[in-house]
Point group: C2
Chain length 499, copies 2
């Protein structure tokens, strides 16, 4: 390969915050998503794939980080002056589809969607600007039976990909209960719903940060505000002590049984009509799930779940993995949330002017896959190909014939297509490809109609452990007639447990 003297070279870099997925990254994710899709399909959900590009108008501004309402998406202006952008989630496009095709779609419409979404956020370690989501939603179903179904399906999906019962919990809450608590705390006036909206936003985000900030941090945010370790000040909701106490009690309302939690919540929402409605819905969901066989080992009512997004209107839920993994510093910590969702009855209304009830869930694909890897449960890792080496450049047709025979027998196989001059490079290549078998045929072997077959797995074991006797009794390389190539390779692959 000759050096080029051209001075201007293009930088070979992914844009900041973007990444590539290689080999097993792709297949492991595919195996996981296929398993989830199978569950969604069984529940009657149909696939939908919307385009990556939407009008900015259709997407709306629902990203949790309300401090930057105009940012968060990758957008541009088209030739007609319309602003277009890459979708930031799969829910906004669904709302657009539900409105655009409302006369054609079945109602209720159960749909699932899997694909990348894009966020124009500051990239950081493990934080990318393109990532996968995997959603299931039911549009047009007003009853909480739809929410219960989504929770049951989420539970089934987690088990289908390999998260065992006991290693996860689906936690359910209801925004209406929170609204009831807000009413009691004096930051929600049913007669004037827009009043105190900013305070409620702060309360919502404070509760959502309980895990990270602890009770004292949340309490500070409910009151005058919070100064963090770096000296940054976050404004508080300005609640008095008694008001804040109601919210704190709400977060702490989980009891040993669902019935006890429901009773405690009833106390807290007191006379609030919306609060009582929320508690009733929670009770119904818990009963429905229980009768479907989804008990407390899989689903619990947990008032600390609120979800950051502003558009939820009723039940909200979250799936948390409860097993421990080691963090970057080697300390054990719970894996945490891999999925969340809830009811959002007003999203479609933006388009149609008519309220359309909707509920759904989104699985964080990368996080769930990371969990499966941590548990050693990620599927789809493939064996490397059999590598047919090239001893004699002029007999390429012979080598291609060998791989053609192997492939026709369903065996993954390659001929070495680099410069064949240095044979060591060919074996290094086979090693890098994690090949189980190498096939070698020089002119001498060709004249005799035979091939050398090298068991690379056994060879590596022998190199690591074997005595000379073992090596002699089970040689990692042997000669075989060309006509027996496929059969002999198949024997080795069967012995190594892969084909």
């Amino acid at each position: 390969m000759a050096k080029d003297k051209s001075p201007r070279r293009v930088r070979a870099e992914t844009p900041k915050g973007f990444r590539d997925y290689f080999g097993a990254d792709v297949t492991e994710r595919k195996v996981m998503l296929d398993a989830i899709a199978e569950v969604y399909h069984r529940y009657g959900f149909d696939p939908l794939e919307t385009s990556a590009v939407e009008t900015v108008e259709a997407l709306g501004k629902f990203l949790p980080d309300v401090d930057r309402p105009n940012e968060g998406v990758f957008g541009w202006q088209d030739e007609d002056g319309d602003w277009l952008a890459l979708r930031y989630d799969l829910t906004a496009p669904l709302a657009r589809v539900a409105a655009q095709f409302r006369n054609d779609l079945p109602s209720p419409y159960r749909r699932y969607a899997m694909g990348p979404v894009w966020r124009n956020e500051k990239p950081g370690p493990g934080r990318f600007r393109q990532f996968y989501q995997c959603d299931a939603d039911t549009v047009g179903a007003p009853s909480v039976a739809a929410d219960a179904e989504i929770c049951a399906m989420l539970s089934d999906a987690l088990e289908a990909v390999g998260i065992e019962r006991g290693d996860y919990i689906v936690r359910v809450n209801n925004r209406k209960v929170l609204n009831g608590v807000m009413e009691v705390a004096g930051v929600l006036d049913p007669a004037d719903p827009d009043r105190h909206a900013a305070e409620r936003g702060i309360v919502l985000r404070a509760i959502d940060k309980l895990d990270r900030l602890g009770p004292d941090g949340v309490r500070a945010l409910l009151g005058k505000g919070r100064l963090d370790a770096s000296g940054d000040f976050t404004a508080g909701a300005g609640l008095g002590d008694t008001q804040a106490e109601v919210v704190m009690a709400f977060m702490d309302a989980r009891r040993d049984s669902g019935a006890a939690t429901v009773a405690r919540l009833r106390e807290l929402v007191g006379p609030s009509r919306i609060g009582a409605e929320g508690v009733d819905e929670l009770e119904t969901i818990a009963q429905l799930l229980d009768q479907m066989g989804y008990g407390a080992d899989r689903l619990v009512i947990d008032p600390s779940v609120v979800r950051g997004l502003g558009y939820y209107t009723g039940p909200v839920f979250e799936a948390e993995l409860t097993f421990e993994i080691l963090d970057e510093k080697g300390r054990p910590r719970q894996f945490g949330s891999v999925s969340g969702g809830g009811r959002y009855d007003d999203l479609v209304k933006r388009f149609t002017g008519q309220a359309v009830p909707a509920t759904g869930v989104s699985i964080g694909v990368d996080r769930l896959l990371a969990a499966l890897r941590a548990k050693g449960r990620a599927g789809g890792t493939s064996t490397g190909p059999v590598v047919v080496t090239v001893m004699d450049r002029d007999r390429m047709a012979d080598y291609l014939g060998m791989v053609a025979d192997l492939r026709a027998a369903g065996i993954r196989a390659e001929v070495y297509l680099g410069n064949p001059k240095n044979f060591g490079n060919q074996l290094k290549y086979a090693d890098k490809r994690q090949s189980p078998v190498a096939v070698i045929q020089g002119s001498d072997e060709a004249a005799r109609g035979v091939v050398q077959i090298k068991d690379l797995v056994l060879g590596a074991q022998i190199a690591a452990n074997a005595t000379v006797e073992e090596w002699k009794s089970q040689p990692a390389q042997f000669e075989a007639p060309r006509g027996e190539l496929v059969a002999r390779v198949r024997e080795i692959l069967a012995r190594n447990g892969g084909l």
Copy 2:
């Protein structure tokens, strides 16, 4: 659902040139791509998924429509002033990856990629701004054995998705032969390769349009230019009659056998060194493929194949479906090209300054899927779910229990989640969902511990054809104990050939 008085409604529309894929659109494509991926995997190719976003610099400007060099992509400027854009194909990102990860990837690197690409072109009927591609490429393999392998794999992939042998042909040519012809025609000077570049571009595009313009149209473009039916004039390459004759003879050089075509091409390229090299390569590819068992029923040398893209440097190939379909006006026409590719040895060099040989193929996913549909071979169409209707809103838990039992038995099932008041709507819903079975349980049945099971497929047949006797002997609706629900539904599904 109450009307909202808000005056500003958001338009529920996909941006111009974009579309949504529903249900079978998604599953049929998935089944096809899975089958192709299985072939690619068997050939030793590894999956790669690059991000949708690249720097404009990395993408380069290789779109065929050279009249609009600054257009063709969707781009925007990031916060650092860098221009980013959505990828317009899967080859440019591969070149970037091959350069960026050259020290980590095996060499040669065989990779496949499947995913959407975006083109900022004028949308039209059947012409979208986002579409799927499915590529396989080998980077770092200088020998034409790599090109032969790609051709064989393309052939296997077409058969794997359901295109039968005889219904397709892979046509192979070589850009070097064309360059030899250009040399003979006087528009390529080996001593000054940049000279006549514009003329060669016109010749290339003219040949690529042979199908559409016919020999006379191409000849006009080779000479003074062409006036089309609408009165638009396209400038020609300015070749004299003798020069044009050489090019016309090249397009017409296909003979009955590969050997005869090769002999004819040797005459045409005459003394051109690059031309002779191209003919040698063509001959080698044909021999290799023949020895791998891919004969003239699957692969032919066809000098009329040139491919529109500017970056090809050696072998080029195209898969054409040879069966007829009816066009919009009901006239039979050949289905045409569904895939193309070739060798592009200079793309990676843009990044590294070093020449890196590469070759690959791209399958037009939407076109191939359309062909499978035309042949009735598209897979993955799913049956609708069993629909459990809701007679008694208070017993939702019972109905959810029925679908839970059905799903646990692997049967796709749904409870009706819309407003249950109008029972007719529930059956209309089941019809829209193409449900094979509906389950009904009113309070009377519940008290007796039974369910009504309605075979909707049989019901439709009876409604269409049956006599009263047939209807009596095989009723489409029957009663069964609740405990036998799963077993009886399974019987119906088995009878209808689906589960």
